[in-house]
Symmetry: C2
Subunit: 236 residues, 2 copies
């Protein structure tokens, strides 16, 4: 069992610790929910464990399909062992149906299905509210190595295919999701951070019920009940 | 002299008329100034003539350098004869220095020089306040033919080189500008609309004085005095 050493960084939903291996880190998933760049907050016992477990299952699904990620293994209820990565300052969002910011931004109707999945990049910057960026901005502002963008875009679309099918088999529609990328110790580009109902929109395929963080954002019902339903379905 | 026939369209700054030739239109430049999607308005006698004259000079400069535009000729103080075009729903912005929306949006300092010119695309939609779009959005929403984008980007950068030098010779810094594109009657892609101090940021190279529509937007001084200075300098 790797040992937690120095705390490297504490974010809104996770704490990152160094270990005795300089290439490996421990992610501790906190029991906190935040939305709107941290303006809305709550403490929810069990959330960290749910996100860690769901993320671990998803990383294992992706691993089996040959997708490179920072995931090594789940260590405990709230802890995940991962490869250390130089993280890029870009969030990659893939959208299958219109929901969230794009509805107001570009005039789509909530739930409208896109002709093909839409890949968007955002500058990871809370103060600026994670603004949309295109390749030219990423290049100019050096938010990520420009030669990594095709890999990031292709990987995001592959992940979309894999996870859309995975969730669909479990009666859930993958509406959209956010990925982060970085350079792993072996020099390759891989997915970092978490992939959980905090970073995906998941709707029940039958009822349309929202099972993700929108429950918390818009007070649509108990957050953890949604997350528990997701875990239950994908654990079968 | 081509004759004005049916009024086709009236915008914030121009009226478009058909002529007896179905491939040719007359643009009438109005004496009105608007900003912030039409929220701020004023009637300014002489503005239409200034913009028509400045635009005509610029289109002629571009024409000599082999840039395809809808411009045919200046007909009178307020009128320009142009080719009819199927206009794309995209505005192309080229930025040399940070100013305007990009300062708040991405955290640049006003006046900061970019390492290389930045080309951005915006969805031409007042109701949505002309949001930033990337290639993927333009493709998905069919805002312009996707195969036209490389031409639009290259043309915008060529125009930037030509006009940066042209203004620089006349003691003016070309900070940024907006172009619109469309398909001309011969099937080629060309620049449409106007290229005037309404659609460019122009700063005096010595004093930094703003000579463009920002004078009106932010009450920095008499708008037409700025436009007259621009015309005076580029007429020499």
């Amino acid at each position: 069992m790797p040992e937690k050493k120095k705390k490297l960084y504490e974010g809104k939903a996770k704490i990152v610790y160094e270990t005795d291996d300089p290439d490996k880190l421990i992610l501790h998933f906190k029991d906190s929910a935040t939305a709107f760049d941290g303006v809305k907050k709550a403490q929810l016992e069990g959330k960290g464990s749910l996100n860690n477990t769901i993320s671990s299952i998803i990383f294992e699904v992706l691993h089996k399909k040959g997708i490179k990620t920072h995931y090594i293994k789940k260590l405990s209820d709230n802890e995940m062992l991962v490869w250390r990565a130089e993280r890029f300052l870009v969030e990659v969002v893939v959208r299958n149906l219109a929901a969230g910011s794009i509805v107001k931004r570009l005039g789509f109707k909530e739930g409208e299905k896109f002709e093909k999945p839409l890949v968007e990049f955002f500058y990871k910057n809370d103060q600026l509210h994670d603004p949309l960026v295109c390749e030219a901005h990423i290049d100019l502002m050096k938010l990520a190595p420009i030669e990594a963008l095709p890999t990031m875009r292709e990987t995001a679309l592959k992940v979309n295919s894999i996870l859309s099918e995975f969730f669909s088999q479990n009666g859930i529609i993958l509406v959209d999701f956010k990925l982060e990328f970085g350079r792993l110790p072996d020099g390759s580009i891989g997915i970092v951070d978490e992939i959980s109902p905090d970073s995906m929109r998941l709707w029940d395929a039958e009822t349309g019920e929202k099972l993700d963080k929108d429950r918390f954002r818009f007070d649509l019902g108990d957050l953890l009940e949604g997350y528990r339903k997701v875990l239950e379905r994908i654990s079968q």
